[in-house]
């Protein structure tokens, strides 16, 4: 095991995969000399040249479309979209082209395209630089949606995405970039999609924590343990495909479910997970399914307002207390 930040884990994976396969290229705004606006691509342009680490104009439609076309004829592009908020600029290419190319062709197209995109609120970045758009794309069949929450998964899921044959939206949470974690030494460390992981075991309540909410969920679980409430924290790791079995098995054990995510509550990823558990596991439940998520307003600039809108550790703790105390 080595210890590194989430950001370094992504960098290392790109560096290793580019060394391993000349068809892997990185394309995006400021990924070259700048090293990525979040610093993730670092010195890759020095290592692999401007051909393979390609700075683009600010043209999200062209970037995504070019990634798709290049993937169709043999490259394995990694595309970077600087902020998830900019994905609608490339909306047609993402939703109508990338997602559907394989299906429309009758299953003939292989689209080995990894779309790295940042998600989450970095603090006072306001309404167009703070969103968590994962849920928007869960509604578009053909895309895979990865939400790594640790350095090891950032590495493992990214490697799976780059080596795979399907388009992946890889959501990197901005507030996780600097978080340290252990990663395996294995240069082929890859995390399968559709396999959730139980981060903490507990008998009283299942807490599904998505992406950037994982550290808060672990903190809330710690607090609740002090009150005698044992929380089982489940990290789905990918939202599409979703590991329903691990979530349902945990709910069967605990009889209670809270889903925490930074995306807006209305039709966020939690809505799908809640509906899935209601359809397939309602008999196990001893209370309502709760969602701890952003309130349904655009993200405000003021730190005070932003804190009020975004889900906090205490929101999870309160929801858990309420749910454990719930009587039918």
């Amino acid at each position: 095991m080595r210890t590194m930040t989430y950001s370094q884990a992504i960098y290392e994976t790109m560096r290793e995969e580019m060394a391993r396969d000349p068809n892997v290229v990185l394309i995006g705004e400021d990924v070259g000399a700048f090293g990525g606006v979040w610093g993730v691509s670092g010195d890759l342009v020095t290592l692999y040249g401007e051909d393979r680490v390609r700075d683009t104009p600010i043209s999200e439609t062209a970037i995504v479309g070019a990634g798709l076309g290049a993937a169709m004829v043999g490259l394995r592009p990694i595309i970077e979209i600087m902020f998830g908020d900019f994905m609608p600029v490339a909306g047609d290419q993402l939703v109508n082209q990338v997602a559907k190319a394989r299906y429309m062709s009758g299953g003939k197209a292989k689209i080995p395209l990894t779309i790295r995109v940042t998600t989450g609120a970095p603090g006072s970045a306001a309404a167009q630089h703070s969103q968590s758009p994962e849920g928007w794309f869960m509604n578009v069949p053909g895309l895979k949606v990865a939400v790594p929450a640790t350095a090891a998964d950032a590495m493992g899921l990214l490697r799976t995405a780059i080596r795979g044959e399907d388009p992946v939206l890889f959501f990197e949470h901005k507030m996780l970039y600097a978080v340290q974690g252990e990663v395996p030494d294995d240069a082929d460390h890859a995390t399968p999609f559709g396999e959730a992981v139980v981060r903490r075991e507990g008998r009283d309540l299942t807490l599904v924590a998505i992406g950037g909410m994982l550290p808060m969920a672990m903190q809330a679980a710690q607090t609740l343990a002090g009150e005698g409430i044992e929380v089982e924290v489940v990290d789905p790791r990918t939202l599409v495909p979703l590991d329903k079995e691990t979530i349902l098995a945990s709910v069967r054990k605990t009889s209670r479910l809270i889903i925490a995510h930074e995306a807006h509550k209305r039709l966020g990823p939690g809505a799908e997970i809640a509906a899935m558990v209601a359809e397939e596991g309602i008999g196990s439940l001893d209370g309502p399914i709760m969602r701890v998520a952003a309130r349904n307003v655009p993200l405000p600039y003021s730190p005070d307002l932003e804190r009020f809108v975004l889900p906090q550790v205490e929101d999870i703790v309160e929801a858990a207390r309420g749910l454990v105390g719930y009587r039918l």
Binding site: V25, T61, G69, M104, S105, G194
Partner: protein, 330 residues
């Protein structure tokens, strides 16, 4: 008879493809009325010379992206009428197994990266293919077909800028049929001459008679040679006319009968036939031989489509992903 660099074989091949495109469209329109084809059709009747002339200038491993009006492009790039007709008929034997239809026909083995239901949607994709060819140092070219309407989409401008900036081996081929859906070009574009748009992206903008298959061929050949030399992309604007509506059933209230009748006097298929006889000394019997083969091929294509099985409903779940997650509902 004029001096010509074209062999009779090539000329007859061009005529064969143009006649095949025309007849394919007419048969598809009939079969849709007859009930074999469930979806809508945007026919390219009148635009045969652009598709055939452009693809004749490409190598077999060059690639194209096509449009909603794409049947001609597919045939010209080697698509087989029987698999196309079967796809229109939504049969398992069609190019996409009945999942794509007219708007999404694709055959990667022929370099057809897909028709497209979104105006300008294929332009960035062709640009990306050109980027891959440049990156891999392969002497291949990517050609994007699109209509005049697409030149008003952001995707067109972003993609041309990228291609011009990086000198990609791309050809941007605009079939200017004077209408974007039901609105004439002069009510859509701020410029009259669409080729001037190339200037903003540091590439040549070439205007050509899109109803003259040889002129289209020459312009595309020049652009392809330039791309292969590493000198970058070209915008070709081929002036043509959409003889039928935007889609079959379009009431066409937005243009006059006189205009349509006038353009039928400049119909690329019969015009080329006349030229073959008068200018190139091709014999009537050679031409009727080609026409007979076209009819036979389409009789066979329609029969093949009609006799092919319809897909089993549950196969709708397959073909989303390339790995074991395919076919799972989640």
């Amino acid at each position: 008879m004029s001096e010509t660099p074209y062999t009779t074989e090539m000329l007859l091949d061009l005529y064969h493809q143009m006649a095949l495109v025309r007849e394919f469209e007419l048969r598809a329109i009939n079969e849709r009325r007859a009930g074999l084809i469930p979806g809508f059709i945007h026919s390219c009747v009148g635009q045969e010379a652009t598709a055939v002339g452009a693809c004749a200038a490409l190598a077999s491993d060059d690639v194209i992206t096509s449009t909603h009006r794409g049947h001609g492009h597919l045939i010209a790039k080697g698509g087989e009428p029987r698999y196309m007709m079967a796809e229109l008929a939504a049969r398992t034997t069609g190019y996409c197994g009945g999942k794509g239809g007219s708007l999404h026909m694709t055959d990667f083995s022929l370099g057809i990266l897909g028709a497209n239901g979104i105006v300008a949607g294929g332009i960035p994709i062709a640009t990306g293919a050109a980027l891959a060819f440049q990156q891999k140092r392969e002497p291949r070219v990517a050609l994007a077909f699109f209509g005049d309407g697409a030149t008003n989409e952001g995707a067109f401008h972003e993609a041309l800028n990228l291609a011009g900036l990086w000198k990609l081996p791309a050809i941007f081929f605009c079939e200017n049929n004077l209408y974007g859906e039901g609105t004439p070009q002069d009510k859509q574009a701020a410029v009259t001459d669409l080729a001037v748009r190339a200037e903003g992206y540091a590439m040549p903008g070439v205007t050509v008679d899109g109803n003259d298959v040889l002129a289209v061929y020459e312009a595309t050949k020049t652009a392809a040679d330039r791309a292969r030399r590493g000198d970058g992309p070209t915008l070709i604007v081929a002036k043509t006319y959409r003889q039928r509506g935007h889609y079959e059933g379009d009431p066409m209230v937005y243009r006059s009968r006189a205009e349509m009748d006038d353009w039928k006097q400049h119909d690329p298929v019969p015009d080329f036939r006349v030229r073959l006889l008068a200018e190139f000394g091709v014999s009537e019997s050679e031409i009727t031989g080609v026409e007979g083969r076209v009819q036979a091929a389409l009789d066979e294509a329609v029969a093949f489509a009609a006799a092919s099985p319809k897909p089993e409903p549950e196969t709708a779940l397959a073909g989303v992903y390339a790995d074991t997650h395919d076919g799972l509902v989640f």
